[in-house]
């Protein structure tokens, strides 16, 4: 079975991720998921692709710590975090978060907390590829 926190170049399947999450416990009454996708428009410009680069070893370690912290903080039964690196086309999936708990409230809260913390703590950078050129993005709204 794939690792619950990982970085990969290839796309992911949310069905496969949710199936893996559910396989961890039959007590799971609520699963909240978040999928971040590549927009084709940013800051008034058309975006054709986004290139992601990670400090692999640290990013993976931080994602593992975030997952453990979320499980502890929200009393989750399990959680999964997948982030892609390399070239991602407009409209494609970038990041997947899933939080599974006995009830919906902690699942929702953990899912939001995980994506917010990921943006602040995981060393990954994105470069937008536009018809006018390429530019590294520094803000994370």
């Amino acid at each position: 079975m794939s690792e619950p926190a990982r970085i990969q170049t290839e796309d992911f399947s949310q069905d496969a991720e949710i199936a893996a999450l559910k396989a961890s416990s039959r007590r799971m009454g609520g699963i909240a998921t978040f999928i971040g996708c590549a927009r084709d428009f940013s800051e008034g410009r058309e975006v054709t692709k986004i290139s992601f680069e990670a400090y692999g070893s640290m990013a993976l370690a931080e994602m593992g710590k975030l997952r453990s912290a979320a499980i502890e903080k929200f009393g989750l039964l399990d959680a999964r975090i997948v982030h892609r690196v390399g070239m991602v086309g407009a409209g494609e999936q970038i990041v997947f978060i899933a939080a599974g708990a006995e009830h919906r409230a902690p699942a929702f809260e953990a899912c939001q907390w995980l994506i917010t913390e990921l943006k602040q703590r995981v060393p990954i950078w994105k470069k937008e590829i536009t018809p006018q050129g390429e530019e590294w993005v520094s803000q994370h709204p």
Binding site: Y55, I94, L118, K119, Q120, P123, H140
Partner: protein, 90 residues
Amino acid sequence: MDPGKIWGAGRVIRVLFFGPVAERMKAREMEVEFATGMTVHDVIARVGAQQPNVFSIVSFIAVNQNQVHDKQMALKDNDEIALMAKFSGG
């Protein structure tokens, strides 16, 4: 002493650059010769000597994959330092 290690060889600090910092440094890594008592600040000074304008975009520093805030932190032989721009994943 570690018998597998050649004494005096490979005494370096690896400095890693990613994304926008790598672009500005025109390199993905550099090696700084390790000296006893060396601090994070000393390594930063070496990087700055090569590319002074890189620091306007460096927001985080990690030593061996852990973020550090104290630039006076002492380094060890073979430590890995990363100078990182603000993250933009997700």
